[in-house]
């Protein structure tokens, strides 16, 4: 039976239009950029380099739980392993030796070693702890060198330290449990080869526990050796703690391990930092460096213990200087310093230095891996920056596609067309303008043919709109505070801007709004980014020109309040700017740019509604009682959504178009769609009375507060991904009892007649509840992210875009999950609907990313183009993937394999045949006459 169904499905999928790729189209419409995330551990692999030359490979571990090997020549990824997200996959230590990359991760800890060349797992050893780490899992520190691994768990008042010396079996050497009142999971501690060293700001002490004091017997409580911070030459910077609930509270004093040395620690307080050397007796002594202890943030690398050289990276604006300081000589090694400049004014976060012997003269040369606070990774040698990776792109939070301007010549024409004065005048004008355009086109053509090397590869191509508006600029905002402008066809970065003082909003979001598009020449386009300040958690608004990245208007503005939500109005002011409405946490409303309150918001105050949410309630507000002095919210309704916590509110995309108002039934009658623009899907989660997962899905009108429809799923857990468009909703979830991923599809209809065919009103009295069609399907895969395709006029059928947990991006036709698929055969059928089958089978030809796997997708962005058939798709996450999709095939363009030669040949053949037969006919006629 199953096979029969499968066969039927295959038949159907052949019969219905599918828009899969051909093999020769690889890379034609798509590109992929692989990322690794922000690097936090790195080491050069020196095994592959012959006679002590520069390393060919660089092993890195990142905060995105990725282990990767980079080619030091060009920075390309040779291989990478993506570990699970969260604490389980965190790579806590990295040690590269003899062509093996050894990492410690997972809970309980596992020691894994990989072959640096191939990425094959060589060995996997569980490190057996005596305690149950689940209950004790506070902060974990791992110190790891070639012969031993030390693991320390810090919880409140207790530190558990375990040393493993046999790395083949994972057997313990010793383990100790230490109780101290000041230890907590927030303690700033560092593990060295010989000690556990902590710094406590409130005590003003550096406390060190040497492992030599930990005897084999655990009877006596070992004592910490304390050193005062003053003797190190540091003072605790006092920070105001008025924003105690701010997410990233600045820690007054930090202690970090130093890359390359198991006996040194870096202590940082405010702007100054110092390197501490820990002796085997637990003594802590600061390393005396010549004049480099204050000023910019610096990171140190100690390559060899006996002939230690400390490298510091000091930054001054965009110039960075790495200087080496010899401990044995006590002087700076001028020959080993590196100088270079970077694009953004960011501080250095991490430095890993490799010293090697230069091949020609045998001198010691230096190469350095520099990781900046904007997540960019540089490899630097004496000539300068060898390569650069923008790893901020691995944590994209917001994307917006911006149309490019049309070339200046056409702009002038359109400009003149606007002001007409008489028919004859405008005709003459038009003819003249088009003549001049033709001339300039001819001149351009001539110039191109004369100098074919006109466009050199290093000069960036001019950013102008192409014929079908497929060429766009993607504005990308990342979690590190860096904003990028990216060419969507090539993936090249056009501009980048680093805002060091911002962080994402509490919901881990950054908001991007296009306030003015390029359509309003000569006004430049304007975009606004809404974020949060790093220290105070108050709101930040950054206004910029999306084509260049340059700040416009007030640029970066720091607001005196915290942002609860922000939205853009559909109406614009005289400058064609759509104002941004920002609601603060105390429900005050502010408009951006200021001044638009009066001109735009107040005239529309009767039709403006704002719904705010907290974790359990959604409250609807009206702006009706606003006055000229201030905008005011009046609460209208408040709704609680069982089973409790609101996980997400999914509205339709602003400007969501519905092409046809109804659907034709099998009996030729029309079923009208319920297209409420104010409808939102609210997903709430909680537990039922027997502690099973419960999921509530509500369709809520955000203006009136009416719940249009709701469903409760029991024993269902997330992640829930919702797609909401036109009159349908599709969401995916995991069914706990059936142990499978499921997809639920809803479609709403008004019925066989429409209440008001021209406009929809949420407040139009008692409404008939819409008809809700629903069906659930089984998905044989999990979903990482979802979206739907968007086209210019919404005539083309919409496709679902699902990022599967296998790593593929699938384009799923909506008829496949249509809730009106009939349950039984027979009877007249609606067009394009096949019989219901519970399982959604996806042909592998519908994977638009083909064999490129995207292991960690966080979102999919789709935008329309000038062609109705074509939609652009941008997938972000650890990797970036861009493609064009044709949900109903390319119906408005010739296929790219259109055989011009055959058509031209056939035409020429016909003409030739006509001429020949004419000749023949004439000859025949002549014969006939002679007869």
């Amino acid at each position: 039976m199953e096979k029969l169904l499968l066969a039927l499905l295959i038949l159907v999928s052949i019969a219905l239009p599918s828009s899969s790729l051909h093999e020769d189209q690889i890379g034609k419409f798509d590109w992929i950029q692989r990322g690794i995330g922000s690097v936090h551990l790195a080491q050069f692999d020196e095994s592959g380099s012959a006679d002590g030359g520069p390393a060919r490979r660089l092993v890195v571990a990142t905060q995105h739980n990725v282990l990767a090997v980079l080619n030091t020549k060009n920075g390309e990824i040779m291989w990478r392993h993506v570990l699970p997200i969260g604490a389980t996959g965190t790579i806590e230590s990295l040690n590269v030796q003899e062509g093996k990359a050894v990492i410690v991760s997972d809970n309980p800890p596992l020691l894994r070693s990989f072959d640096v060349l191939s990425g094959t797992l060589i060995k996997e050893v569980p490190l057996k702890l005596h305690y149950k780490p689940d209950s004790l899992y506070g902060k974990r520190l791992v110190q790891h060198d070639s012969s031993s691994v030390t693991v320390a768990h810090l919880t409140s008042n207790t530190a558990e330290i375990t040393r493993f010396s046999n790395l083949k079996t994972g057997a313990q050497e010793w383990q100790h449990s230490i109780s101290q009142p000041w230890i907590s999971s927030e303690s700033q501690c560092g593990l060295t080869e010989v000690s556990l060293t902590c710094v406590d700001a409130s005590l003003g002490l550096v406390l060190s526990l040497p492992f030599s004091r930990l005897g084999k017997t655990t009877g006596k409580e070992p004592q910490f050796i304390s050193t005062s911070l003053e003797s190190i030459g540091l003072s605790v910077a006092v920070t105001s703690d008025d924003d105690a609930d701010c997410k990233f509270r600045s820690i007054p004093i930090t202690l970090q391990n130093v890359h390359g040395s198991p006996r040194h620690l870096l202590i940082t307080s405010g702007e100054s930092s110092s390197v501490l050397q820990v002796g085997s007796d637990g003594s802590v002594t600061p390393v005396k460096e010549a004049g480099a202890s204050s000023g910019a943030v610096s990171v140190v690398d100690v390559t060899q213990a006996d002939d230690a050289v400390i490298y510091r990276a000091l930054h001054h604006k965009q110039a960075i200087r790495i200087s080496g300081f010899s401990l044995a000589l006590g002087t700076e090694l001028v020959s080993r310093s590196l100088q270079f400049s970077v694009g953004a004014e960011a501080a250095v976060r991490m430095l890993v230095v490799q010293q090697y012997q230069r091949r020609g003269d045998g001198e010691v040369a230096v190469r350095a891996l520099v990781v900046m606070h904007d997540d960019s990774v540089h490899l630097v040698a004496s000539p300068g920056v060898l390569w650069l990776r923008e790893e901020a792109l691995a944590s994209v939070l917001a994307v917006e596609a911006v149309d490019l301007p049309i070339p200046a010549s056409s702009v002038s024409m359109h400009d003149h067309m606007a002001q007409r004065a008489g028919v004859l005048h405008s005709l003459v004008h038009r003819v003249m303008l088009q003549g001049s355009e033709l001339l300039s086109w001819l001149a351009e053509l001539l110039e191109d043919s004369l100098s074919p090397s006109h466009s050199s590869p290093d000069s960036p191509p001019a950013l102008y709109r192409d014929e079908f508006n497929i060429h766009k600029l993607l504005i990308i905002a990342t979690a590190s505070g860096k904003i990028f402008g990216m060419d969507n066809l090539s993936g090249a970065l056009v501009w980048s801007e680093y805002l060091p003082s911002i962080q994402p909003l509490p919901s881990d979001k950054l908001l991007l709004f296009l306030q003015r598009s390029v359509a309003h020449f000569p006004h430049p386009p304007q975009m606004v980014l809404v974020a949060m300040h790093k220290d105070s958690c108050r709101g930040v608004v950054h206004t910029f020109n999306p084509l260049t990245g340059e700040p416009t208007g007030k640029g970066l503005e720091f607001l005196p309040y915290r942002i609860s939500q922000a939205s853009m109005l559909a109406q614009n002011d005289q400058q064609f700017i759509k104002p941004l409405l920002v609601v603060d946490t105390s429900l005050g409303v502010h408009a951006f740019p200021s001044g638009t309150e009066l001109s735009v918001v107040l005239p529309h105050k009767d039709v403006l509604y704002i719904a705010t949410r907290n974790s359990t309630h959604i409250t609807g507000h009206s702006l009706r009682s606003s006055t000229k002095e201030s905008l005011k919210l009046t609460p209208l309704w408040s709704q609680h959504f069982p089973p409790g916590t609101i996980e997400g509110v999914y509205t339709k995309r602003p400007g969501d178009k519905v092409h046809s108002a109804g659907r034709v039934m099998a009996d030729r009658s029309v079923l009208y769609k319920y297209t409420n623009p104010n409808l939102a899907v609210v997903v709430a989660r909680g537990l039922d009375h027997i502690n099973e997962n419960l999921l509530g899905v509500y369709l809520v009108d955000l203006v009136s507060g009416a719940v249009v429809d709701w469903i409760s799923h029991s024993r269902v857990s997330g992640p829930v991904h919702v797609i909401h468009s036109e009159n349908w909703v599709v969401y995916t979830y995991y069914h706990d009892r059936n142990r499978r991923h499921e997809l639920h599809s809803l479609e709403l209809f008004e019925g066989p007649s429409q209440a008001n065919a021209t406009a929809f009103s949420s407040l139009a009295g008692a409404q008939r509840p819409p008809l809700v069609e629903r069906q659930a399907y089984i998905l044989p895969f999990g979903v990482q992210a979802s979206a739907h395709t968007i086209t210019e006029k919404s005539i083309t059928t919409k496709c679902l875009l699902l990022a599967l947990d296998t790593g593929g991006i699938a384009q799923v036709a909506r008829w496949l999950v249509d809730p009106r698929r009939p349950m039984s055969g027979g009877g007249p059928r609606e067009e394009g609907l096949v019989q219901y089958m519970p399982e959604v089978h996806l042909p592998s030809t519908d994977i638009i990313s083909y064999n490129q796997t995207l292991p960690r997708v966080s979102g999919i962005y789709s935008a329309p183009t000038g062609l109705e058939s074509t939609s652009i798709v941008f997938v972000y996450g650890l990797d970036l993937f861009f493609s064009r999709v044709f949900p109903s095939k390319m119906f408005d363009m010739l296929k790219d394999d259109f055989d011009y030669v055959l058509i031209a040949g056939a035409l020429l053949g016909l003409v030739a045949a006509a001429l020949i037969t004419r000749k023949l006919a004439q000859r025949k006629a002549l014969y006939h006459q002679w007869k």
Partner: protein, 243 residues
């Protein structure tokens, strides 16, 4: 409740065969015995060409519960730290398809692999141990281009409909032996039809013939012309009328 009873059945069933799996630390009587390991093998098909480094670094082995394993050079893998319960193990490699396998681990750490059945999750089809992933085949991501072939054109019904009668027209006069011709004709006494001359038709259609040709488009004229030159094509009908 259903799960519990099912589990009970499964515990009873699993005592009979199956591996001994070591728990993480069961020494000294400490009761933290709830993390288990599952071992398996991924068979690397040799008939599909694939780069070795791509296979080992590009193959992901993960469970729906968030655990992950890595491939060793001999194709084996170990999933560590699994809690008891059901885990679906997926082996994903870009160009080769593997079916997922469900593994049920009981609270004692015994486990059995099962065939994945999303439609009927309670249906038990136990697979043999050791856990082994066998390739189902290569994944086809692309549609083949429609290639232009001369045979496609020749066997097109439209082309056949025009070419076959044309061929017959050319071949019929070649039956020059008068006896056979007479025989054939006696067998197929075709009614005399006013079939138009082909060459005439083409000339008329193109409208390029001299007015005299078009005016004298009677069968007699065609006959006269064709009688002179019997080798030419399109003369069959006229010739028949001669008789």
């Amino acid at each position: 409740m259903l799960v519990l009873s099912r589990l009970l059945v499964f515990v009873l069933a699993s005592f009979s065969c199956l591996h001994i799996v070591f728990a993480l630390s069961d020494e000294e009587g400490s009761k933290s015995v709830d993390r288990f390991t599952v071992e398996g093998i991924v068979e690397r098909p040799l008939n599909y060409p694939q780069d070795e480094a791509e296979f080992f670094a590009g193959t992901r082995i993960y469970t729906n519960t968030g655990y992950q394993a890595f491939l060793k050079a001999n194709g084996s893998f170990v999933l560590h730290n699994l809690p008891w319960g059901s885990h679906f193990i997926h082996v994903v490699t870009p160009n080769i398809l593997y079916a997922p396998i469900r593994v049920d681990i009981n609270s004692k750490g015994k486990w059995r692999p099962r065939k994945v059945n999303y439609l009927q999750p309670s249906k038990v089809e136990v697979l043999s141990t050791p856990l082994k992933f066998t390739a189902l085949g290569p994944v086809r991501y692309f549609e083949a281009r429609e290639q232009w072939r001369i045979t496609d054109l020749l066997f097109n019904p439209m082309v056949l409909m025009t070419v076959v009668p044309l061929g017959l027209m050319l071949l019929m006069p070649k039956l020059s032996d008068p006896e056979t011709r007479r025989e054939v004709e006696s067998q197929f006494q075709l009614p005399k039809t006013e079939a138009p001359d082909l060459s005439e038709m083409v000339t008329n259609f193109l409208g390029m013939g001299s007015p005299s040709t078009s005016s004298s488009s009677g069968p007699a004229a065609g006959t006269a012309c064709d009688a002179r030159r019997p080798g030419r094509g399109g003369a069959r009908a006229a010739r028949r009328k001669d008789k």
